[in-house]
């Protein structure tokens, strides 16, 4: 059986290579899909390697096979069904959910090894303290990843709001307390491998909740990306626990790559990671004290018919899609409207804010689904100088990303976030269900502007009406 080890080694090396190529390829549009498949193949290879190696060396009992197959079938089936069923609008939530489960898996492995030390295969290879320390890290990071991701998902779904206490100083006290308790548990566990196990799990779970709960608004994607990085760290720690180098490499890669991605996202929003994690919530606390609030004084509302008349006369139209569009599943109706406009020789483009929707790239995915040509999607830096030369801007269910307060009002929590300068355009129509505030809970000065008209209603319904009106006017049907 001496040939098993080299084969396993070769498989592992190949898997690592494919994983690296996969991550690399995923950052380029052209190669992304193949890269994703490559990474999937690498995972299958890696699992095959572990099974082959174990079968060849210590053997796998029937009992083990049964439990392996059970876990695989149930987890795999649920994963496949969830991935198929989930609407494109819920993508950020689902990434958070998957991510949380990855963290949970690492946590359980460490828990199993901690409860039944005899099962640890690497006991001889690793020192007692090192092993216990790996267990601590795996438990700690795994628990934070799980509870944090679940809170992130619940918040994005709207199941959880931001409780007031999390915006006060009390949350720092709470988080520090949890961290200290986790540290105490960790020290105990590192020393004797018994005590403090559940203290770590519970306090780090609470820490994950305490850190994620206060974060709101556009910052949530950054948090999910960061948690994604954590789950890589948790996997690497689990690799130390069971003594698998492949796991350590892959976990470290994902952890580091996730960190970079988080940084890239922060740059896109012109914020530092620290201010997202700590300062963002402090800024939001000023909302509750009223500085960002205030009543609307000059709201103009209009019907889809008026909107259609203005559009008919326009030469350049910019669409600003937001989460409201995603919720209403209105991307296809939007595409029909823009087709009509294009037929009438009206120049149409889409202004994509880096964090429009609930996650970077969310709008790109959604509009791609509706066959919007790639060239019409314009990033913020490109489109912003073009707004003064734009006749009509149609804001569809976006709010915070078009709030001029971010540029003008230093006391606003949004201040400093790059926004789309839609108010520079001649006319702005804001399609919105009601006057409620955006995700950040902040008043939008845009709605008060003299050149802004509100079209109230669900984005899909308004766009449907708009389409009818445009057709009635004969727009785009000439020739």
């Amino acid at each position: 059986m001496t040939f098993i080890a080299p084969i396993k080694f070769a498989i592992d090396l190949l898997a690592v290579l494919l994983l690296a190529l996969g991550i690399k390829g995923l950052s380029k549009v052209r190669s992304a899909r193949e890269a994703n498949r490559l990474a999937a193949i690498a995972m299958i290879l890696a699992a095959f390697g572990v099974l082959l190696h174990s079968q060849g060396t210590i053997g796998i009992s029937i009992n083990s096979w049964i439990w392996i197959i059970c876990g695989t079938l149930i987890g795999g089936f649920l994963g496949a069904v969830t991935a198929r069923r989930v609407p494109m609008t819920a993508m950020p939530e689902i990434v958070a959910l998957f991510n949380g489960c990855g963290g949970m898996s690492s946590l359980l492995v460490a828990l199993g090894v901690a409860l039944f030390p005899s099962a640890d295969g690497s006991q001889g290879a690793l020192g007692e303290v090192v092993r216990n320390f790996s267990i601590v890290v795996s438990l700690f990071v795994g628990a934070i990843t799980f509870s944090g991701s679940i809170v992130a998902m619940a918040k994005l779904q709207g199941w959880l709001s931001t409780p007031p206490w999390t915006q006060s100083k009390a949350r720092h006290f709470f988080n520090i307390l949890c961290a200290v308790l986790a540290l105490i548990g960790g020290i105990c566990l590192s020393i004797d491998g018994q005590n403090g196990l559940f203290l770590i799990v519970i306090s780090s779970s609470l820490l994950g909740i305490g850190v994620t709960l206060p974060i709101g608004g556009a910052d949530m994607p950054v948090v999910i990306s960061l948690l994604n990085s954590y789950s890589g760290v948790a996997a690497a720690a689990a690799g130390f626990v069971v003594g698998s180098q492949l796991l350590i490499v892959a976990g470290a890669m994902v952890g580091a790559a996730g960190l970079i991605l988080t940084q890239v996202m922060c740059d896109g929003m012109n914020r530092s990671l620290l201010s997202v994690l700590f300062g963002g919530a402090l800024g939001a606390s000023s909302v509750s004290s009223g500085s960002g609030g205030g009543e609307y004084t000059n709201i103009t509302s209009c019907s889809p018919e008026e909107c259609a008349l203005t559009l008919e006369a326009a030469e350049r139209v910019v669409i600003v899609p937001g989460y409201g569009l995603a919720v209403a599943q209105a991307q296809h109706t939007l595409r029909e409207v823009t087709r009509v406009l294009e037929n009438a020789d009206i120049d149409v483009s889409y202004a994509i804010h880096p964090v429009a929707g609930r996650m970077p790239g969310h709008m790109n995915v959604l509009l791609a689904e509706a066959d919007v040509p790639y060239e019409q999607l314009k990033e913020m830096d490109v489109i912003n100088p073009e707004f003064p030369a734009t006749d009509v801007v149609l804001v569809l269910g976006a709010n915070d990303v078009v709030n001029p307060q971010a540029k003008t009002d230093q006391s606003s929590p949004l201040y400093g976030m790059p926004v789309l300068d839609v108010q520079e355009a001649r006319t702005v129509f804001v399609v919105k269900r009601g006057m409620s505030a955006g995700y950040s809970g902040i008043k939008n000065d845009l709605f008060d502007a003299p050149n802004t008209s509100m079209v109230f209603g669900d984005a899909k319904k308004v766009l449907g009406d708009l389409l009818l009106e445009l057709k009635e006017l004969g727009v785009g049907s000439k020739g």
Binding site: C70, T72, A80, M88, F98, S105, A235, S244, I260
Partner: protein
Amino acid sequence: MSFFSEALWVLLLGSLLGLELIGKVPPTLHTPLMSGANAISGITMLAALTLIIKSGENLPLLVIGSISLGFALFNVIGGFLVTDRMLAMFSRKKTRK
């Protein structure tokens, strides 16, 4: 200790590799990349597999391992499929052009 020092090297080099792999990512790909990397972090399924295999006849451990494996595979399979679904939208549009 040899495994441990080797493992630390592996950790260090793996982290450096991860830092280098992603340079400039177009915003379009932020979500798919996050989702794909997320699927890869389900690699912890290997640890779950190892745990099950080494647990022998220890029932509670088998159950923990199996649940852990389930969670990991939920992450892996769901993650890759969802990423593929997102990316399929981009490529479909490209072929039509």
